[in-house]
Amino acid sequence: MPEAATAVKTVELKILRYRPASDERPAFGSFKVPYTEDMSVLEALQTIKDTLDGTLSFRWSCRMAVCGSCGMMINGKPQLACNTLLRNLPPGPVTIEPLNNFPIERDLVVSVGDFVKKIESIYPYIIPKEPKTVAEGPYLQTPAQLAAYESFSDCINCMLCYAACPQFGENPNFIGPGAMALLQRYNGDSRDGGQQKRLDTIHGEDGVWSCTAVGYCSEVCPKQVDPANAVNQNKTNSAFDFFLRFLRPGGAR
């Protein structure tokens, strides 16, 4: 190939760095890496780590937008680094920051512990409506019954929706869109009988009632889970429950 054709194009990445041992607060660092047509932001970061600065820290694994590790702010928007291709970004430097609204542990690594605890708090498993043994075979579930919750089950726990939600930014205790998607995934499942129990975990100020229906959470979701729907339909459910609880046996509390 002639020299001119292989002359390397480069791309500049401005990355928010934070190393707790040495940095008082986060600050941007700039890196230039060779650009190729099929390069993702993740690959650009890996190139930096492998060739320019081994101290850059970020999480990643699957590279195929399914493990949920690599969420970060790319040009100000929460996105997965692995399925954001440089060629689809506007020309010029790419700004990379850790996910908004989460404490930064180091560079692009944020704290995930609270998020996991939130998921655990909503009984994220089938509470069978009619218990069955394995010997009795699978439950029947029609495609329509599956469709009722299927999209909520596609959540990869990437937390982009949390970075998108200003109400979570204002109130870190807000249960948040992702955990609500999981709640709805089970509450909408025809095999499940735990709806009331789960609903009772989110009636509080930090439950659904922190959401003001901003809706940006659903826009950034890489898996079209529509967490805003999960939160807001349960706002409706929680509101009705507020008034109707007195009518159900043992419901008033």
Binding site: P20, P103, I104, A147, A213
Partner: protein
């Protein structure tokens, strides 16, 4: 002792004024228009209760250019409210399953906006018919 020292970045105090949240804030501010219109009617009721004299003052106000412009603005805000309200509506409803597939929210919004426009149109026609 660990060197761990998580850093919490503060939220920008004006996040609500900037994209991507600007449209949301505008949507919420249509609430001002809805409330103002409610107040306009409320003052009409106050004047009505105070007697014909006061009520005539109210009518004069309604006919003033200021009021006409105000109502045109309220109308614009109200139309934005209608559209955004029905855009948000599907988010507050359980997933609708039609023919075994989730019914697209976009279509639901389109239908709802048409229903909303229809309601307003019917009310308008009734008013015109009654006023004839």
């Amino acid at each position: 002792m660990s060197e761990r020292r998580p850093y919490r970045r503060p939220m920008s105090p004006t996040w609500w004024a900037n994209p991507p949240y600007r449209a949301y804030t505008l949507r919420e501010l249509t609430g001002v228009a809805v409330a103002i219109y409610g107040l306009v009617l409320f003052f009409g009721l106050v004047c009505l209760a105070l007697g014909p004299g006061a009520y005539d003052g109210y009518l004069a106000f309604l006919r003033s250019p200021f009021s006409i412009v105000l109502h045109l603005l309220l109308l614009a805000a109200m139309v934005y409210h209608v559209v955004t309200w029905f855009e948000t509506l599907p988010k507050t409803q359980p997933k609708l399953i039609v023919d075994g597939k989730p019914f697209p929210a976009k279509k639901m919004t389109d239908i709802a906006i048409k229903v909303g426009a229809g309601c307003s149109l019917v009310l308008l026609l009734i008013a015109i018919w009654v006023g004839r």
